[in-house]
């Protein structure tokens, strides 16, 4: 039903029938404006003007906030502890709930028939990553795991056990892979990177502390052994009490099994290639030393 827009409606009708509005005709709603309390005037505002009787209160010479009359104040009694020490060097992961992921798939913003990457999530405006604020990617959180019903091949940077279970229960695949900050910046905004005309760099391997996380099969790390991952899938299915669906018999098996190489940032594009967007071409190096470097 299309409604022709009548600006103002009843208000406009009333306005047109009343006499002209001037400052003389306007008045605020009674009780809307309250007069301020003016100190030093009259019986109630004057005399001591709300300052009390003598002492530091009336004379305005009270000590600083936290002073306890000479006793060691609370904020000095408590010893220091490094709760926030190195907070600016800690990696942060933007959380992504399974509920939001399901919502994005339902609204057609994410295509479940293609592997889901951080680029796809950012293009769908599902998450916002700020690599300059020590964000190292996205983490999958298991809020909404009971309503999650989608078979996807997803790659995130961290995932909780419940989230892994929910995805594998529906026949999907989840991988945890590491992106160093430069690669992450390129992954999030590929088009500005391609416009720079630089060759695609190779993805760096994780640092010492993160290697155990990405090599363990329980976390479905990208550096882990595939057989161990299969065992871990079966173990998780037993733990959470669902039947592990067989993926090799699936029609989308090829898409689900797609995984990026350890040094690759984008699907289908190797490091060392330069993308020419205006002419829709890809330039590849032929020098042996370069090829050796980029394939190492």
């Amino acid at each position: 039903m299309s409604f022709p827009k009548k600006p103002g409606g009843k208000g406009l009708d009333v306005l047109q029938n009343l006499p002209r509005i001037t400052l003389a005709n306007l008045r605020p709603e009674p009780g809307a404006r309250k007069n301020e309390k003016r100190r030093g005037r009259g019986q109630h505002g004057g005399n001591r003007s709300g300052r009390g009787h003598k002492g530091e209160r009336q004379r305005g010479t009270r000590p600083r906030l936290g002073f306890e009359g000479g006793q060691t104040p609370f904020y000095l009694r408590i010893p220091k502890y490094g709760f926030n020490e190195g907070h600016s060097r800690r990696p942060q992961y933007q959380p992504l709930t399974l509920k939001r992921l399901q919502y994005l798939i339902d609204l057609g913003r994410i295509d479940p028939s293609q592997p889901i990457d951080l680029t796809q999530l950012v293009n769908a405006r599902g998450v916002t990553i700020q690599p300059l604020k020590r964000d190292y990617g996205v983490q999958l959180v298991d809020e909404g795991s009971d309503i999650f019903v989608a078979k996807i091949n997803i790659e995130v940077q961290r995932a909780t056990e419940g989230a892994i279970a929910a995805i594998e229960r529906n026949g999907g695949i989840i991988t945890n892979s590491f992106y160093d900050p430069i690669s992450l910046g390129i992954l999030i905004k590929p088009v500005p990177f391609f416009m720079r005309g630089q060759p695609i760099p190779k993805r760096m391997l994780p640092g010492e502390d993160m290697v155990p996380y990405y090599m363990s099969a329980e976390n479905r790390g990208y550096l882990a052994d595939p057989e161990e991952i299969q065992q871990a899938r079966r173990a998780l299915a037993q733990k959470y009490g669902y039947v592990l669906p067989d993926i090799s018999k699936d029609e989308l098996c090829h898409m689900l099994a797609m995984r990026k190489d350890v040094r690759q940032i984008f699907f289908g594009l190797s490091p060392g290639w330069v993308v020419n967007m205006p002419e829709k071409k890809i330039l590849k190096p032929t020098d042996e030393k370069l090829l050796q470097y980029y394939s190492s």
Partner: protein, 173 residues
Amino acid sequence: MYKMAAGLLTLRVLRASSGFCRRTPAAAGGLRAASSDAPQDKRAVITESTEEYKFVERLIPPTRIPDPPKHVGAAPSGWIPPAESPPPLPYMIRRSRMHNIPVYSDLTHGNRRMTLVRKVEGDIWALEKDVRQYLRQVTGKELPTQVNEVTMTLKVKGHFEQELKDWLASRGF
């Protein structure tokens, strides 16, 4: 699934077939035929290809918001699509850009709770009457409401975002 191996293979194939010779094909062909040790000097620094460009097209962000696919009833995430035809009421509430119901909760001054219904078209006073009646049923209280005929919005005191969203979705908006 090592795409690197596949990439290198295609590289070798392409290097053999194409080179910098696109500019002067006849002359380069002639030069190659003439000198036998030419391959070392004439080898191209880069090779071009257009086959893998489809992977780049996958990475370009879309400029328009995609239409949601057809769902029968509610989607698994709880999203309810609008009815096929608008309901036969004197007012209409459009969906937002992201295909959601435009009801929002607001909190100002730390304790002032309001619910805002935007994108109303038609007779907004009828909507206000229906909303007041529905909330009276739900809460048992008479809630103050404010109608803005210029912006065609409705404000209700209190947080009733979820209740109003469910009610409007059930009505087919």
